[in-house]
């Protein structure tokens, strides 16, 4: 299946491109980017075609990966759906619930796949965690304690017009989706504190502490903060502890690393499975009408709802209820 990547703006672009190239069922058709300079360079690196015109990039493929700034997702996703292309969209699907719903509905109308890129669903340790929970090895789940801290990605991520928000927008959705996926439950209440004091010279939120309550009574929290300084040896990480009536289980989704030190710095090398590849496989299978764990557009909408409520709670200092 030929896949075009629409925009190279997001830091996950390389992971997507690599997955498209590695996946047995896919082939990289080309790259479109509204920043021609950036797009040409990335296309040259990958030895693929750069398209300056969006419709040219759409005309050479059956499906696309949208990897743009968050605020441009809707425009690109809708254009791809109009052209009858299946879409895998970088998270967060949308910067507002209404925007996400427009995309999800459009995909239903046109009968194409619109999926949200939540690669944790294909993270091998996270999949094992799902099995542990489903087999009731810790009894009934009572609570989740989640951390998704990272380094500040800078660039457009700290420009609210293009990102829709800071650390909360960037990092709540991974764990929110993982918790929904693990339990099948929906978040009903949100309380959040947020601020901007970790990264110098930026005004967008870089600190967040979010508490959730699910509709089946599970309580949870998430730290989406950009709390990792530049000297930290890796981008961040995703940790989740599930506590149940019969025990607890600790997930460190990106713990599989080898550490290298030299005279000036510390480096870490991942040796875990490359989850983007498995996510890409699932995208192809989903297009072929097979049942997969791939997050749908509606999963993306649900995650965005949580982010929106977190911002509202942080502003109002009250618990926000979502339906």
């Amino acid at each position: 299946m030929k896949i075009s990547i629409l925009s190279t703006a997001h830091v996950h672009f390389e992971a997507f491109a690599s997955a498209v190239k590695q996946c047995a069922g896919t082939e990289l058709a080309g790259i479109y980017d509204d920043d021609a300079h950036r797009g040409k360079k990335k296309a040259a690196d990958l030895q693929t075609v750069f398209y300056e015109n969006l419709h040219d990039a759409l005309s050479v493929c059956e499906a696309v990966v949208v990897c743009s700034e968050n605020a441009k997702h809707e425009e690109l996703v809708l254009a791809a759906i109009e052209a009858n292309k299946h879409v895998l969209c970088e998270k967060p699907l949308a910067i507002s619930t209404v925007s996400g719903e427009r995309m999800a509905k459009k995909a239903v109308e046109q009968d194409v796949v619109l999926a949200t890129a939540f690669p944790l669903r294909f993270n091998t340790p996270a999949m094992e965690l799902k099995r542990v929970i489903e087999q009731k090895q810790i009894g009934e789940v009572l609570a989740f304690h989640g951390k998704n801290p990272g380094q500040c990605p800078k660039g457009w991520f700290i420009d609210k017009k293009r990102s829709g928000g800071g650390a909360l927008m960037d990092h709540i959705v991974h764990l929110a989706d993982l918790m929904r996926w693990l339990t099948g439950a929906e978040v009903s209440k949100i309380y959040a504190e947020a601020d901007s004091f970790l990264v110098p010279c930026i005004t967008i939120d870089d600190v967040g502490h979010v508490q959730l309550e699910f509709n089946n009574g599970i309580i949870a929290d998430i730290d989406p903060s950009w709390s990792r300084p530049e000297g930290y040896p890796t981008w961040g990480g995703i940790d989740l502890r599930a506590t149940g009536t019969q025990g607890a289980v600790d997930l460190r989704a990106y713990a599989q690393k080898v550490t290298q030190y030299n005279n000036t710095k510390t480096l870490q090398h991942d040796y875990g499975d490359f989850e983007y590849l498995y996510m890409m496989n699932a995208f192809v299978e989903t297009i072929g009408n097979h049942q997969t764990e791939l997050a749908t557009a509606w999963d993306g909408v649900a995650a965005t709802k949580i982010v929106e409520a977190a911002y509202q709670s942080a502003k109002e200092h009250e618990v926000v209820t979502i339906t």
Partner: protein, 317 residues
């Protein structure tokens, strides 16, 4: 100096060991409702008044819900009092004890022992007090065992929030200053809790307390400030681990593995004794302990009522 230990459960035992290392302290008696005879050569008394006559200094290690009553008796006699944390399990008891202290000639110190853990001191000393911090503090163990399991009854102990997480709440108040807003959630039994605190200086502290953790005792701190990150996890820094063929059974109440010549309990009690001897100010006063105990009690209220609590509003109410 003569001292009596009132209550001989898990913490009374630790305090006795600490006093026995001090050449200038004699434990004259132990008050216990369940034990008789003597413990390590120290006579056990089942009558509180009789035991109180033995010394001018008392160390209250009784279950939390008994603190007020025994504190009242000791304060009325003008004793110097070391009071194990939490100071009390209700706001009313706390206020009553603060009033008693005002009228008593004796000194009072509260055992917020985490302030004597050198790793937490390192954190406190190295953070920038002029900048807000974003912190994650976690404390986890298996379900503790106590006489008649009083500590598992939320009405007597305040559950995991007051009995366990108060350590970290107190650290947060000590390191980041007064709290302005609290939100807490807990399970039905109060064995597991998640808290969010907002401090006056803008800091945000999130805490996890668990009595549902079978992975061995853990205390954990992660503090981020502008361009800085401090991390500490007790399980990552174990300086000695013994691995046996047959696994040894776990302790009933888990405590951190401390490999230090002077453990934190010794240090807090040593400072208490020295403050009395030299008539110096007490390092952790009843008022200091009240600040953090109150936050824990309001966290319980937040969990009960499922709403955030603003301390500013609470004070005005």
């Amino acid at each position: 100096m003569k001292i009596v230990i009132l209550g001989y459960g898990f913490i009374g035992n630790i305090h006795l060991s600490a006093y026995q290392k001090m050449n200038d302290v004699e434990v004259a008696g132990i008050y216990s409702t369940t034990k008789t005879g003597s413990i390590e050569g120290v006579p056990v008394y089942n009558d509180l008044d009789e035991c109180l006559e033995l010394a001018d200094v008392v160390d209250i290690c009784l279950p939390t819900f008994m603190h007020r009553e025994v504190f009242e008796k000791a304060a009325a006699r003008g004793k110097h009092i070391f009071l194990e944390k939490p100071m009390a399990h209700t706001e009313e008891d706390c206020r009553f004890m603060l009033e008693l202290e005002q009228r008593s000639a004796g000194k009072v110190m509260v055992g917020q022992v985490l302030r004597y853990f050198p790793e937490y001191r390192q954190l406190k000393e190295n953070i920038d007090p002029g900048k807000p911090a974003s912190s994650l503090l976690s404390r986890r163990s298996q379900l503790p065992v106590s006489a008649k399991n009083w500590s598992l009854d939320r009405n007597n102990s305040g559950g995991v929030i007051l009995d366990l997480l108060l350590h970290d709440i107190d650290f947060a108040c000590w390191a980041f200053g007064p709290v302005t807003r609290i939100y807490a959630q807990s399970d039905a039994e109060y064995y597991y809790a998640l808290l969010t605190l907002r401090h006056e200086n803008g800091s945000i502290t999130r805490l996890e307390g668990s009595w549902r953790y079978e992975g061995g005792f853990v205390q954990e701190a992660e503090i981020a400030q502008e361009n800085e990150l401090f991390t500490y996890n007790s399980q990552d820094v174990l300086p000695l681990q013994v691995h046996q063929k047959a696994s040894a059974s776990k302790d009933s109440t888990e405590i951190p593995a401390v490999l230090l010549r002077d453990d934190p309990w010794y240090l807090e009690l040593r400072e208490f004794i020295d403050a009395i001897r030299d008539d110096r100010p007490i390092p952790i006063t009843l008022q200091d302990a009240y600040e953090s105990t109150r936050v824990a009690l309001l966290a319980l209220k937040s969990a009960d009522e499922k709403r955030p609590i603003s301390l500013v509003k609470e004070l005005n109410a």
